[in-house]
């Protein structure tokens, strides 16, 4: 029989430390939904999603009961819609978004991702059409998420796309102004976007992916925070080992769930995403882990070093626990979804600039950050360009999910509810990058993109 201490440890992780599977995301290819008729296009999308994912939610619930592990989200990721309707106009894309929304509601998932485009080098007719209706699509649907990849280490940064995203974010914030500009919480701008990420809002089913697969995102900041607290005043090597061992255990659970979900749904398992994804709940915060390492508060000098250690140790521990690792894999630092981050911002300990530095050493980027509603478009573009260039220059994924909360100013607070949490409105730099952004064109790929 198993060691009783191991069993109690696992039960405590789930009962007291918020250990859970954050998401089981089914990736579905929609390439066979292409049509030259907008209604047929939308109809095929709805039919394919509802047919393929009909068992996803019940299956997730069965696994939850059998294994006693909460599976918080069941989600769908589809082929980037911009790739499918090049012969159709903007209206067809809006219909497609609504079809995705209806399908997601029908099967009972809480988000569906993939209403997006990859425009790192330039825009196709399909991408143009999709981007032209993106604010409307985000305001007229509830569950549809969008990601737009504007740069990669190989291609450089498409600054025309960056400028366009600044406009789209502002417009989305305006169109959803009666709901705290929540449309922007469903839109991410990426550099080096992963094509198998199970986490929202950036999930989509890339074009090198199989017809259908399941990807699993694990979580467990609370478990790591408690392990760090138990380790006490040890040196950094010991601390890294403690985090590695904990990440290993968390990931093994994710691997088991991915395997079981794949077997029950009869579709291949894609990857396990080794991420520490916080929620606004107490005891489920990445900031608290950093503070547990000895920082007075998240944002203090030393925060970037602590996060770098955490991110690296999570990957090292997790990678042996899973046969295929992918997605974003690392620590997330979304402000509104992390009680410790919210507190640090409210106490003026954590600024946008410090968050930007932190994103150089962890996965994702400037995530779920509310900024004043009157932030000029070119400032938003400048923030995106800065963040994206960190990803391009460092050959890693970075992303921006900013919410210019309509009618709100610095120091106010916006509440999105549920897992999206609430966010203090943060200060943004006042000086204008307008002439820089207006240059247009592409920032060339860095020299180290030439690796062949």
């Amino acid at each position: 029989m198993l060691n009783i201490e191991d069993i109690i440890e696992t039960v405590n992780m789930i009962r007291d430390e918020n250990l859970d599977i954050r998401t089981i995301t089914m990736g579905i290819s929609l390439f066979d939904c292409v049509s030259d008729d907008p209604d047929r296009f939308a109809g095929r999308i709805y039919d394919k999603i509802t047919r393929t994912a009909s068992r996803l939610v019940p299956c997730g619930e069965e696994l939850e009961t059998l294994y006693g592990i909460p599976i918080i989200n069941k989600r769908i990721a589809v082929t980037p819609i911009s790739l499918l309707g090049g012969s159709l106009g903007p209206d067809a894309y809006l219909k497609a978004a609504k079809a995705m929304d209806r399908a997601a509601k029908e099967i009972g998932v809480n988000f569906i991702g993939g209403f997006g485009a990859l425009v790192q080098k330039g825009s196709t007719k399909g991408a143009d059409a999709l981007l032209s209706v993106l604010p409307e699509a985000l305001s007229e649907t509830e569950l549809v998420c969008s990601s737009v990849n504007v740069a990669s280490t190989k291609a450089g940064i498409n600054m025309d796309a960056v400028a366009r995203m600044g406009r789209i974010i502002r417009e989305t914030a305006y169109l959803t102004r009666d709901r705290e500009s929540i449309g922007c919480a469903k839109l991410v701008v990426f550099a080096n976007v992963p094509q198998d990420n199970p986490f929202m809002a950036g999930a989509f089913h890339g074009f090198g992916e199989p017809e259908c697969c399941v990807n699993v995102g694990v979580s467990g900041p609370g478990v790591v925070a408690n392990a760090v607290a138990r380790a006490g005043n040890c040196d950094f090597s010991t601390l890294a080992d403690v985090i590695k061992k904990t990440a290993f255990k968390i990931t093994r659970m994710g691997q088991l769930m991915a395997h079981e979900a794949s077997k029950r749904l009869g579709v291949p398992y894609g990857i396990v995403d080794l991420s520490l994804a916080p929620t606004p709940a107490q005891g489920d915060s990445v900031a608290r882990i950093l503070e547990g390492m000895g920082l007075e508060i998240c944002g203090a000098a030393g925060t970037t070093a602590a996060l770098a250690l955490l991110n690296d140790a999570v990957k090292k521990g997790g990678v042996m626990a899973s046969s295929h690792v992918g997605g974003l894999s690392g620590a997330f630092i979304p402000v509104s979804e992390d009680a410790g981050m919210i507190e640090a911002v409210e106490k003026n300990a954590l600024s946008l600039e410090k968050l930007e530095a932190m994103t150089a050493v962890c996965s994702v980027g400037l995530d779920m950050i509310a900024i004043p509603g009157d932030t000029p478009e070119d400032v938003i573009c400048g923030i995106i360009a800065d963040e994206i260039s960190i990803g391009v220059a460092n050959n890693k994924t970075t992303a921006v999910r900013l919410i210019p909360a309509y009618g709100r100013k610095e120091g106010d607070s916006v509440s999105f509810g549920g897992l999206l949490g609430h966010a203090p409105v943060m200060r943004v730099p006042g000086a204008s990058p307008a002439a820089f952004i207006a240059r247009g064109g592409r920032i060339p790929a860095p020299i180290h993109s030439l690796r062949n």
């Binding site: 029989m1 009783i4 696992t10």
Partner: protein, 89 residues
Amino acid sequence: MRAIICVTGRDSVGIIAAVSAVCASCGANIVDINQSVLKDFFTMVMLVEIDRLTLPFPEFSGKLSSLGSERGLDIHTMHEDIFNSMHRI
């Protein structure tokens, strides 16, 4: 298939009897029990075979949870594989 029933809480007379009675009434065969009491804190881990359950697993697990609520105990019932995968390489 085997499941692990983990019971923790304040010690009192008849905890094992009560948990065993639920197992017997539901067709779960007890394979192993490991139990200890430390400063009035009762901990028990019970390994049971669940292939011949007379009711669906969620209902079995629910009955044990209700028993836990009645007696002020925490009772978690989980598939054995979760522990195997987490603690064995």
